[in-house]
């Protein structure tokens, strides 16, 4: 057992706390201390050497209460590590690997990994070729993602970011992907809500929730995304594809700023420390698509960042945009208009997702994007009350139907085949004579039928998967679309 006395006996180095702040202590002595090394205080708390100067060292203390001045401290000769293992699947843990629910007995895994490691080099990385489904039709069809992509989820608070992330986790967990939800400085209530969602959807055995709660020490919150990434790397090395959600890095940056300012480091823009870009870039660089002995495995990372009043030009926001492979923007105005999800496809970007799509999906993506742009333009001048031609009316009607199709509550996730099938039905004009409300009702019936009827699922898959282009799909829909629906007992 590594008690203070044992460590002192082993390292023969001692230090004394000379100054103490919240989550930080300055210690003198410890001549051999290295940056990142763990230290142990005689009162049992542990800390990590952050900065080392000639006479003293700054220690990030993983304790809620400040260390008393004069407290003795010794080295451990170890860096901060996280126990890693499959035992964590289905658990709610803190950034040190302990269960948050301390009442249950739990044996920590024996394997440990350092939480702060260098990202893998270029030789280990592979081109992103596999698509990542989110189950949200708007994202899958317009802003597609790939496995191993780092996609920023950005938007004001309460615009449905977390719901989208939970839907994505649900979709991916059902496909056997290991999902890690890193809650950074969140309220216990929010974390519990996420846990309840996973349990209700029966995917908890594929999910690990790593939570650094809002009342945890600054240092614990600071290391939490690194610890979550370490766990993701463990599963990746085991041969599993991993999806990691970091909710959110804005909070992380704020806590890091607090630590830096307490440490009297020179403040940079918006008082953030000068190395905030480096810190986040080093973290996100650990995600990607990697070639290994047991094949190619991916860590897909969805970092979240909050905006204030829709301002996406903030310091942390633009930093993260530049280090990710695109962003999904949740628009507060669209949210106010009742759009769910409130994703603004014109301000969202995906840099690698399209390369993972097959020809059919790519064509649909292209068609939809140009159609939505056209519709946006037409809507703008239709406002003037000008007499509209039949073509314009049709465009607006199809636009409304597409909007109704993209309107998706957080409880619903759609398989990619169903998304394409429904889009093709709309594009073909099956609901041409119906209002968006009637269309919505029909869509709901189809979705329910898809979830319950295997035959219908097979028919949809057969129709969609064999098509090479949108034209052949529309021809097929024209021939057998209504029949497939009729066979499934759906009246449209």
């Amino acid at each position: 057992m590594n008690t203070f006395a044992n460590l002192l006996e082993k390292t023969k180095e001692i230090g004394f706390t000379t100054r103490s702040l919240e989550s930080m202590a300055y210690v003198s002595g410890l001549p051999g201390l290295k940056p990142g090394e763990l230290v142990q205080f005689e009162t049992g708390e542990v800390g990590q050497a952050a900065y080392i100067e000639e006479d003293d060292a700054e220690i990030l203390v993983f304790a809620k209460l400040p260390i008393k001045i004069g407290t003795r401290v010794t080295r451990t000769t170890e860096v901060t590590t996280l126990p890693v293992g499959a035992e964590y699947l289905g658990q709610l843990i803190d950034p040190f690997g302990n269960l948050l629910d301390k009442l249950r007995p739990f044996k920590l895994p024996e394997e440990k990994r350092p939480i702060d490691v260098e990202p893998a080099g270029i030789a280990m990385r592979r081109k992103i070729t596999k698509s990542l489904e989110t189950g949200v039709s708007l994202v899958d069809m317009l802003i597609p993602l790939g496995q191993g992509q780092r996609e920023l989820v950005i938007g004001d608070r309460k615009t449905g970011k977390t719901n989208f992330l939970l839907q994505t986790i649900y979709t991916q967990a059902r496909k056997g992907v290991i999902c890690i939800y890193a809650a950074i400085g969140k309220k216990k209530f929010d974390v519990k809500q996420a846990e309840e969602y996973f349990r209700k959807k029966e995917i908890m055995d594929q999910v690990v929730i790593m939570a650094a709660l809002a009342d945890d020490p600054l240092s614990t919150i600071y290391i939490s995304p690194f610890a979550a990434m370490t766990l993701a790397e463990y599963f990746k090395d085991r041969g599993n594809d991993v999806l990691i959600v970091m909710d959110d890095l804005n909070t992380h940056a704020k806590f890091y700023r607090e630590i830096s300012l307490l440490g009297k480091r020179f403040p940079g823009r918006n008082a953030y420390p000068a190395d905030i870009f480096y810190t986040h870039a080093k973290l996100l660089e650990r995600a990607g698509n990697f070639g290994q002995k047991n094949g190619v495995t991916a860590i897909t990372c969805l970092p979240v960042v909050e905006t204030v009043q829709g301002d996406i030009t903030g310091y942390i926001q633009t930093n993260l945009m530049s280090m990710t492979d695109g962003h999904i923007y949740f628009d507060v105005d669209l949210f106010a208009k009742g759009r769910r999800p409130a994703v603004n496809p014109f301000l969202s970007v995906t840099r690698v997702g399209r390369q993972t799509q097959n020809n059919l999906r790519r064509t649909i993506n292209r068609e939809l994007t140009s159609f939505l742009t056209l519709r946006e333009r037409i809507e703008n001048f239709a406002h003037f009350g000008a007499e509209t031609s039949t073509t314009v009316k049709n465009t607006l009607l199809t636009g409304d139907q597409i909007t109704a199709f993209f309107d998706q509550t957080s409880e619903v996730v759609l398989e990619i085949n169903l998304q394409i099938f429904l889009f093709a039905l709309i594009w073909f004009g099956i609901w041409r004579t119906k209002t968006p409300d009637q269309l919505k009702q029909d869509l709901t019936n189809i979705i329910i039928a898809f979830e319950t009827k295997t035959e219908f699922q097979k028919a949809v898959a057969k129709t969609v998967e064999k098509q090479e282009s949108l034209n052949t799909l529309l021809t097929e829909i024209g021939k057998s679309g209504t029949k497939i629906l009729r066979d499934a007992g759906i009246k449209v």
Binding site: L8, E9, T11, K12, E13, I14, G15, S28, G29, L30, P31, T74
Partner: protein, 168 residues
């Protein structure tokens, strides 16, 4: 070239422990507060009257070797402030022993420590009876345990089985 030593360091050599250093600093403070009396008489006379003989002698030598004009109050004040700083900043060797030591023993220990680690150090003595005998030395963050307790612990760990058998 002549090897000129800092006069402050020379004084440090004569101070054994942190306790002595505090006393020294306190005496200098006392003198500084009495400097107003030098209006009537010379600084050196006040120094001799106010402070213990050994301290006043050391300070006098310090002032002379620092080439301070002893008729100039401000110069003396500044020089003694610097001396106080030198004493305050001196490196400390912390020594924990098992029994309260007499002044003579502390001086003996201090001279041995100064011989081993350097003469411009101060020794801080603390007592911990659990050590039984010997000492624990802490210097520049290095921890050297030369106590009887540790020797006994090592012996106990090595011969645990035999000892427990014997006690049973």
């Amino acid at each position: 070239m002549e090897n000129q030593q800092d006069p402050g360091i020379a004084i440090l050599k004569t101070i054994a422990s942190t306790e002595d250093a505090s006393y020294y600093i306190e005496q200098i403070d006392r003198f500084l507060q009495s400097m107003y009396q030098t209006d009537r008489t010379s600084i050196l006379t006040v120094l001799e009257e106010m402070l213990p003989e050994n301290i006043s002698r050391d300070i006098k030598e310090y002032l002379i070797s620092s080439k301070i004009d002893v008729t100039h109050q401000e110069q003396v004040r500044y020089a003694l402030g610097t001396l106080q700083d030198t004493i305050r900043k001196a490196k400390v060797v912390s020594l924990t022993i098992a029994f309260p030591a007499s002044k003579r023993i502390v001086e003996k220990i201090a001279s041995q420590v100064k011989e081993s680690f350097g003469s411009n150090l101060l020794v801080e003595i603390s007592i911990n009876q659990e050590l039984v005998g010997g000492a624990v030395i802490i210097y520049k963050g290095n921890y050297i345990d030369l106590s009887v307790k540790r020797k006994v612990d090592i012996l106990f760990d090595a011969k645990k089985e035999e000892i427990l058998k014997f006690l049973a």
